[in-house]
């Protein structure tokens, strides 16, 4: 019971506090702020603890996991779990959440409602990261959509309606495809279930012991067959010792994602609308998640949303919401349909590489600071896609590390743009100049964020990019995808040009904003960072340096996970 209760806290605490905030009396806005801040510390603390545990454990296993039947007839269960990937992203979500609350202290209108929605949003985000049941996943996925829409639509800039609607329709389209594919998959499983063979590795990773000592894999009884075809339960100790027989399990019709992963071969044997079910389902999952990443060319809602959203919402959007798309790839699309993911890897990697270059060149052409950072996000998320489809350990690790460090870096950049907006009430690059003299602390953090985003070694941005490039150049995924062995090496080399472009647009921006003579006389009395700005910026900056200098914890938490996915896909396609 402990596991599911503890993990539920990740979304229950923000959810309850979000509702509770409405009880705060009018005129006591500071209470709302304080309560929200305290509430945001809970997931942060828990996330940090889990991340440390994951990094210390250093293997691919769930730290906590429990499945409680919720609607057994429908196959829905309260199935929550945390492994290295979720722990890292929960940690990131905790950081971004706390920073977002801090950065929202300046919000003056409808304060209670604002913080309530912000917490609701994080309830959804954290829920997605712990959910291992597709229905739960979907519910949380929808849960974060509404608050985000309202936060942009109610607290946004001048053209907030357009941006919010665009965001809404895009993500709603994603949600619909998620719903469709989820129901399809559920219904495709026969009511009596599917018998699947379980490899010893898979059996070990999902192993649990029943009361009578027999083995279970992901809560399903594991059995072996004798020569007559009779099934026999197998003792857990036999599995641990490495039993020689092929193991089997009967996967029932339910929404359990871990069960769905065991069915990966089953999906490929089914048809849907005359198409291979696995291909169909992968495509729909891919579209649903690609909208969130966002993958080129489904990205154009992002610049609008960022420009119109208030600072803290931009931070949340870039810091954590974009990661949900990649999380969906990692948790669902790739493990469930490894053969399709590998077969389409060439195209997906190409989309990633195009995003890297396109986003970076588009960033060069922006005049609005927020839009510029938005395009840099698109470019940086391109690395995630490339690393993931490279399917090497380094590539997948790089994808996940890139998510984490982009979460820190993009949050920093959006906060910094917010600092400027607070003072100047505009975001035009050309409307600034020479701020280094009046705002030295701001300039120092700005440079740090820019250098990290530009992939400077010693700051966290470099680690992900390096791993992705290494992983891509080592990759044999091109062969499986039918693109030849050279394809991913070329992708890696082209992706390396990102280091030129990112340095160009980021440092050019730093130059135009901070250096040169003061361009606008009224900016001479701009205030340097205030204490609460420092409070949100400095921890992010310190983490950026910390994980840049010592990325070991990230890799310890994520490396085994990457290895597992890489091997899973490799064994599914029969090796590279």
């Amino acid at each position: 019971m402990f596991d599911s209760l503890f993990l539920s806290l990740f979304f229950v605490v923000p959810l309850v506090v979000a509702l509770f905030l409405w009880l705060v009396p009018q005129g006591r806005e500071n209470w709302a702020r304080a309560i929200a801040l305290v509430a945001s510390f809970v997931p942060l603390g828990m996330g940090a603890a889990l991340f440390v545990l994951a990094a210390r454990a250093g293997r691919d296993a769930f730290l906590l996991r429990e499945s409680v039947p919720l609607a057994p007839t429908l196959g829905i269960s309260w199935h929550l779990g945390v492994d290295g990937l979720s722990a890292t992203l929960l940690f990131l979500s905790g950081i971004v959440g706390t920073v977002a609350v801090l950065a929202s202290f300046g919000i003056k209108r409808k304060v209670r409602g604002y913080f309530s929605l912000l917490l609701l949003l994080f309830a959804g985000v954290n829920g997605v990261f712990v959910a291992l049941d597709m229905v739960l996943f979907y519910v949380f996925w929808e849960l974060m959509l509404i608050p985000m829409f309202l936060l942009i639509a109610l607290w946004g800039g001048e053209q907030r309606r357009y941006a919010a609607l665009k965001f809404f329709f895009y993500t709603m389209a994603g949600s619909i495809s998620l719903l469709v594919v989820m129901l399809t998959l559920y219904l495709k499983v026969p009511t009596q279930g599917v018998e699947v063979s379980v490899t010893p590795t898979a059996a070990l990773s999902g192993l649990s012991v029943a009361h009578d000592g027999s083995a279970k894999v992901w809560d399903l009884p594991l059995f072996v067959k004798d020569s007559a075809g009779q099934s026999h339960a197998v003792a857990a100790s036999v599995v641990v010792k490495g039993g020689v027989q092929p193991f089997f399990a009967q996967v029932p019709r339910d929404f359990d994602l871990l069960h769905w992963r065991m069915l990966w071969r089953f999906w490929t044997t089914q048809e849907f609308l005359g198409l291979n079910l696995a291909a169909f389902a992968f495509l729909f999952f891919f579209l649903a998640f690609a909208v969130k990443v966002p993958v080129f060319p489904l990205h154009t809602w992002l610049p609008h949303a960022h420009v119109q959203a208030p600072t803290a919402v931009s931070v949340v959007l870039a810091g954590i919401l974009l990661k949900l798309g990649v999380y969906g790839f990692l948790r669902i699309a790739w493990p469930l349909f490894p053969t399709v993911a590998a077969a389409w890897g060439g195209w997906i990697a190409l989309l990633g590489v195009v995003a890297i270059i396109w986003g970076a060149v588009a960033a060069l052409g922006q005049t609005d600071l927020k839009r510029l950072v938005a395009y840099s996000s698109i470019s940086h998320m391109g690395y995630c896609l490339l690393g993931l489809s490279a399917l090497t350990v380094a590539g997948i690790s790089g994808c996940m590390i890139q998510m984490f460090s982009h979460g820190l870096g993009a949050s920093l950049l959006f906060l910094l743009v917010g600092v400027l907006y607070d003072r100047a009430h505009h975001r035009e690059v050309e409307g600034f100049g020479g701020l280094a003299a009046t705002m030295p602390a701001f300039t120092a953090v700005f440079m740090l964020a820019a250098f990290s985003s530009a992939g400077l070694p010693g700051l966290s941005g470099f680690v992900g990019e390096l791993s992705v490039i290494l992983g891509s150049i080592q990759s044999h995924a091109g062969v499986v995808a039918g693109w030849g062995p050279d394809a991913f090496r070329w992708f890696g080399i082209v992706a390396s040009t990102g280091v030129i472009l990112s340095a160009a647009y980021l440092l050019w921006t730093v130059k135009r904003v901070a250096f040169g003579p003061l361009r606008h006389a009224e900016q001479a009395n701009f205030r340097d960072l205030t204490w609460h700005e420092r409070f949100s910026l400095y921890p992010l900056a310190i983490l950026t340096v910390l994980f840049g200098v010592w990325p070991h914890p990230l890799l310890a938490a994520l490396g085994p996970w990457a290895r597992d996915l890489s091997l899973h896909v490799a064994s599914a396609v029969g090796g590279f």
Partner: protein
């Protein structure tokens, strides 16, 4: 020994952190000097066993990024560790020693400047990063510190980052020569220069990153365990034929190794300002002159040469030919530009580029011809005399009230005898006259280029084989010409503009001491340990030899090449110096060879071409084009509240589809009630039912 090795870079880092985080008002300068002095002394201590006994010192490697094993890629760890060999030791001594000298000198040069202490903090960071490159035991660590060196130089170039572009700088406009041309004045400023330096370096670093990734891939594919990028493992991988078993882009074996080598060399081209990536270095002169002395003369730009030397065992003959040609073009091109500069510092900047080109010629000649030791020796001797030249320039510029136009100098010999004498010695050194340091190192370079050309001539077109050597000889004369021109215009003759030179004076005693000490190293005997200028061997040769046995070329052949070169280069030197003294005997020339002059004065239009294609074309136009193709015209972006006009862009297409859907929805009529939630509800319902229907 491990602690000592770690302390050498750690001390400057600590100094930087203290100055950056605590921001003391006073004492930062002496803290930095003290830190650097300790680092220097520790370097001396570790240098003794390395240089005298040929020992290689190292620390255990610390895994930095450790990836678990995959299906076909073994587990590997990218690690950080220190490895100090003779070549690194000499470099370490030069880095710490010159840093110390320049720091001391800067207390005079920058005294009273408004951000005085910041210089010492940033300088310490730079020195830390530079030591990281020197001490690194693998290619990735080199890359990491390589980039940090880039940041150090970024910070130092941008020391006066609030200055306007020179076009808006009234002092500059009054100070520059009337015929000044070639500089993009509307752009050139410290803030621009630091950006340009970093981005141009990144152009090269892209190659470095791609190259090291290729090396890592091949090394792992070849069965290397542990860190695939450590020097030892790379050597092992190449020796075991790992490159023969993989293919990329139709290349395998030597071809692939050539490609990977050239990729990494691209990085060296950026840092060492090789054609066509050299344009950042002259702009970097916007930084304080003492920063230029260390960064753009002695250490940072030397890093590229250092890396090339490290990579030499992995460079194939084809890659070496590429290296020599890049070096040759760079050496010649920069020397021609230096011929016509009016700006005192610009001459030194182009001279630096040209000399770096020389070193590349030497390295490109390969180890067998002695090019390896010659290239490195020239790196070392050049570091010292060029640092001296820059510090001398600091003295001249400071003394002349920040004026830099040589046409207005003249007769400074009497006002600043120390500066004149020491820079005079350095000028003789760079000219390569007998008894001076470059006579030894540059001649060895040219000799190795000669040997390499002889070796290559059988395999390829004559011009291809002999080009680098020919350029190196030609450039020797050009070097003597422009350096003599600079020195004689500044120090000889009479004061041409008394207003500028009236208050010129030698620097403070401590700065004079620095000049004096550096001047000692302009003499050849300091390097070779022998008063005989024709003694070709050196204590450095001894230190560098064990790494690369030079059995490829017979001793007699080498001796012959050296003698030939010596005659030729002394001839070239006297020709260059004589011509220069003759032409400039009465001050600046009034006549010029027009087409050539404007080609050189306009920097061969390379800077403009980069600006046109890269900054204006790709960066600004291309950026705007892609931005418009993505979201649509700016008009569209400002009118989003109502129905934004559609324009041909990705976002426009999206909106177009949405509008089309809206039109179709309108046809459906009654269902439309204007609430988006309802639409989504309908859609969900329909699709859900559809799925349900189809499956069951």
């Amino acid at each position: 020994m491990t602690t000592t090795l770690l302390a050498i870079p750690a001390i400057p880092l600590a100094v930087f952190l203290i100055l950056f985080l605590l921001r003391p008002r006073k004492g930062g300068d002496w803290l930095a000097i003290l830190g650097m002095a300790v680092s220097f002394l520790l370097s001396l201590r570790v240098a003794v066993p390395v240089l005298s006994q040929g020992q290689i010192l190292s620390t255990p490697s610390l895994p930095w990024l450790a990836f678990p094993k995959g299906l076909d890629v073994p587990a590997f760890a990218l690690s950080l560790g220190i490895r100090l060999d003779p070549m690194g030791t000499v470099m370490l001594l030069i880095v710490t020693g010159l840093s110390l000298a320049v720091l001391v000198y800067s207390t005079w040069y920058l005294h009273g400047d408004r951000c005085y202490t910041r210089f010492f903090g940033h300088f310490s960071f730079f020195a830390f990063a530079m030591m990281g490159i020197v001490l690194s035991d693998n290619l990735l660590m080199t890359f990491i510190f390589w980039e940090l060196v880039g940041v150090g130089s970024y910070l130092l170039i941008g020391y006066w980052s609030d200055k306007p572009a020179v076009a808006d700088d009234s002092f500059y406009q009054g100070m520059k020569a009337k015929y000044a041309t070639g500089i993009l004045e509307s752009k050139l400023s410290p803030a621009h220069a630091q950006l340009k330096a970093f981005v141009m370096n990144r152009v090269g670093d892209f190659g470095f990153l791609a190259g090291l990734s290729i090396f890592a891939w091949v090394s792992l594919a070849g069965g290397i365990q542990g860190n695939p990028l450590s020097w030892e493992h790379l050597r092992l991988a190449v020796a075991s034929g790992a490159f023969d078993h993989v293919a990329f882009a139709g290349l395998s074996g030597t071809g692939l190794l050539t490609l990977a080598g050239i990729f990494v060399f691209l990085g060296a081209m950026g840092k060492s300002a090789q054609f066509p990536l050299h344009t950042w270095l002259p702009d970097a002169m916007q930084g304080p002159t003492t920063a230029s002395a260390i960064i753009h003369a002695a250490t940072m730009v030397a890093a590229g040469v250092f890396l090339t030397a490290r990579m030499l065992p992995f460079l194939t003959p084809d890659a070496l030919l590429f290296v020599s040609w890049i070096g040759a073009i760079t050496a010649f091109l920069a020397a021609t530009i230096a011929l016509v500069q009016w700006d005192f510092k610009a001459v030194l900047a182009y001279s630096t580029i040209s000399q770096l080109g020389y070193m590349m010629i030497g390295l490109g000649a390969g180890a067998e011809t002695g090019g390896y030791s010659a290239g490195l020796s020239h790196l070392f001797t050049h570091a010292l005399f060029k640092c001296l030249l820059f510090l001398g320039a600091a003295s001249v510029i400071h003394g002349c009230g920040n004026h830099q136009d040589m046409n207005r100098f003249g007769g400074l010999w009497k006002k600043m005898p120390w500066t004149a004498a020491t820079t005079g010695l350095a000028t003789l050194a760079i000219c390569g006259l007998p008894f001076f340091s470059s006579f030894w190192s540059k001649d060895a370079l040219i000799a190795s280029a000669l040997l390499a050309a002889q070796g290559r001539s059988g395999h390829m077109a004559a011009w291809l084989a002999w080009g680098p050597w020919a350029f190196s000889v030609l450039t020797a004369a050009l070097t003597c010409f422009y350096m003599t021109r600079q020195w004689s215009l500044t120090f000889l003759g009479t004061a041409r503009d008394p207003e500028v030179t009236a208050h010129a004076h030698d620097p403070w005693p401590r700065a004079k001491v620095v000049l004096f000490v550096l001047a000692l190293f302009t003499f050849q005997f300091v390097w070779t340990g022998s008063l005989n200028p024709f003694g070709a061997s050196s204590w450095l040769d001894g230190a560098l030899a064990p790494l690369f046995p030079v059995d490829g070329v017979s001793e007699a052949l080498r001796h012959h090449a050296h003698l030939q070169t010596m005659e030729l280069s002394v001839l070239m030197a006297f020709f260059g110096i004589g011509l220069s003294l003759f032409l400039y005997r009465k001050g600046p020339m009034t006549k010029s060879v027009k087409p050539l002059w404007s080609l050189f004065a306009n920097l061969w239009f390379i800077d403009r071409l980069w600006d046109l294609l890269w900054v204006e074309g790709f960066g600004k136009r291309g950026g705007r084009l892609v931005a418009t193709a993505d979201l649509g015209s700016s008009e569209r972006l400002t009118r989003l509240e109502t129905r934004p006009p559609l324009s041909p862009s990705i976002d426009g297409v999206v909106d177009g589809i949405a509008r089309l859907a809206g039109v179709l929805g309108g046809l459906l009529g009654r269902l439309q009630n204007g609430r988006s939630v309802a639409y989504v509800g309908y859609a969900t319902l329909i699709l859900g039912l559809l799925a349900l229907f189809l499956v069951i």
